[in-house]
Symmetry: C2
Subunit: 367 residues, 2 copies
């Protein structure tokens, strides 16, 4: 599989949904496989909240492969002998695209908390400029899980000619108050931590000693990524061997898991990027600017494949059902396939239990 990593600078204004403007912006991206002569074999993969454009393969010296490596590669489901797969680091994220900690134009300091709020729609609009520059006028398919699924849905509504196949996993048409409330813990945790310094921290400050409020906010995320059932399976009430049951700070294994993941994450991800991306997630609503969800979804021309996970505690299956039912009620039942996967992993399943859903992706791509 041929992997190509790069970034492109756009010396143009990006008009945001908010009415604000970004003056020039960069997008990092990665591609797998080769674009065919008529540029008709591109599959766009959208990453989730904390993902990056590094979706597959390994960089030199890395022990871990990209976040969807089991699905992307030669003879895999997203078969790079046939398809040209591209994944773009979303605007606002800290892996190479323009974000609160990068200068917008040469010589201008990072905007930090003055960075404008961006929406899913803004992220997608920026990516469309990149696809255009690469000569991709139409994608064979677009696919994404979680926040990536929101981008996929957004393409369907706002760029109905861009693709004939949309695959959404573990996602929603509008973020629920339940999901917003988990994000609230991260927002508060980060902003109220004195070491955040109103966004004027130095990144190095957190490499040794992560921002606690960020770690705690991320731990909240981990609760929503798992489920009561998956926690019972994974941890039960097992106690950390070296800790005492009657020590105040003695820990259950689930607590150690949260600590480990929360603090490690807070070392490597940028807190400003995090709050801007959860803000974009919170305000995502496919029906905003439309009279109703059906008024919005009627724009879609692509065949939709929706994959929900039964134990998903962040974006619950009934939210995907609402998309299917709305399309059905418009007489568009034939253009939507809904599958609810029985999984023990909750929301995280779309990054773990490939063998339980890859078939649906294969089927969607074959048609």
């Amino acid at each position: 599989m041929k992997i190509f990593t790069s970034s492109e600078y756009f010396d143009e204004q990006l008009y945001l949904e908010s009415g604000r403007i970004i003056e020039g912006y960069t997008q990092a991206y990665e591609t797998y496989g080769e674009l065919n002569r008529d540029k008709s074999n591109a599959i766009v993969v959208f990453h989730a909240l904390t993902g990056s454009h590094h979706a597959a393969g390994k960089y030199e010296g890395d022990s871990k492969a990209g976040w969807w490596d089991p699905l992307i590669g030669d003879n895999k489901i997203l078969d790079t002998t046939k398809y040209f797969v591209i994944c773009v680091n979303i605007l606002g994220s800290c892996f190479g695209s323009s974000c609160p900690t990068t200068p917008t134009k040469k010589g201008m300091p990072p905007l930090r908390l003055k960075f404008p709020v961006i929406t899913i729609s803004d992220m997608v609009r920026a990516q469309m400029s990149l696809f255009k520059r690469l000569g991709i006028e139409k994608a064979y398919a677009v696919i994404g899980g979680s926040l990536g699924g929101m981008q996929a849905l957004c393409v369907g509504v706002e760029y109905p000619e861009f693709t004939d196949k949309i695959i959404m996993l573990a996602s929603t048409y509008a973020t629920s108050p339940w999901a917003i409330s988990f994000n609230k813990l991260a927002m508060e945790g980060i902003v109220k931590d004195p070491r955040f310094k109103d966004g004027n921290y130095k990144k190095e400050d957190f490499e040794e000693l992560p921002l606690s409020g960020f770690a705690i906010g991320r731990m909240a995320g981990h609760i929503s990524f798992l489920s009561p059932y998956s926690m019972n399976q994974k941890f039960g009430r097992n106690y950390v061997e070296t800790d005492g049951l009657y020590e105040l700070f003695g820990r259950f294994q689930v607590e150690r898991y949260m600590e480990y993941n929360g603090y490690n994450f807070a070392k490597r991800f940028d807190p400003l990027s995090y709050i801007y991306i959860i803000k974009a997630m919170n305000i995502f609503d496919a029906s905003r600017n439309y009279d109703s969800l059906s008024d919005s979804l009627k724009n879609i021309k692509a065949k939709m494949t929706l994959v929900a996970f039964r134990g998903d505690m962040l974006f619950m299956p009934n939210e995907m059902v609402a998309i299917r039912d709305t399309l059905r009620d418009m007489g568009r039942g034939n253009s939507v396939d809904y599958h609810c996967v029985d999984s023990n992993y909750g929301h995280d399943a779309f990054l773990i239990e490939y063998d339980k859903f890859d078939f649906y992706i294969r089927k969607a791509l074959e048609k």
Copy 2:
């Protein structure tokens, strides 16, 4: 209804489950109605995590009545013309009973983070000393929701002769990793907040400016007290009128609710008490010190009434079902009544939707 508020000091050692000892301790309590001549009409009400012994009635100048006021009073379900209702502030709580911020003996400074870890069993043991001092050798019934339900179950297992009727609401036989993970956010939030000062804060410090980490931890609690469904009903995706959708710190109504409740709570509750009580909740397991749950529950002689709430995201109905089924499998099906209440309020329902479950309490008391 006659209300009596008092506290008792116990000049004796309390041997804790951990092996540690508390040297002398105080318990605040409140009673409603009058103890009859043969002291056979006492109903013990156990309060939850942040409740107090002030379960009913109003203190002079108060606008709000005690936390279970709709159930306790003359001609109410816990009818104070018939019953003598008593509620004791649990050990570790900050409303008058011994806790990390109170001196254990005259002249000794508060133990703060050196206070011993206490368990549900310890809380109940201390209360038994109080009941004994008041001459109550046997209660007509014991009842509690959430952490109060754990105490009720503990009575059944450890003091099987103390009562013939146990009523547990919205509770469990052992705290699940899911519930522990929510508590973890509070534990980390409090302890990592620099203003917590390793437990050496002054209470006054938080009256104006609450401890953020505590407020955030409490917000996490509020997520688990509600449910995805109740949040949709209560808030939907409504935005705070004065906030801008594209302002980074603009808020959805669910976020304002969390802020309001989180920060207000952090002004009035003590963070050390909070971490000690959630620790007690986390390590509660009715089967510890027994071979199995059935080995533990076989001690129970009382009739059990279990009331679960369908949308309860903290202690889920299946956890109460496990208690019923365990008793059934022992051939004790006749001694347990299980009811699952359809409620829109999640865990909080036991403090709100009285008309949906008070009948079960009435029935349990009549038998």
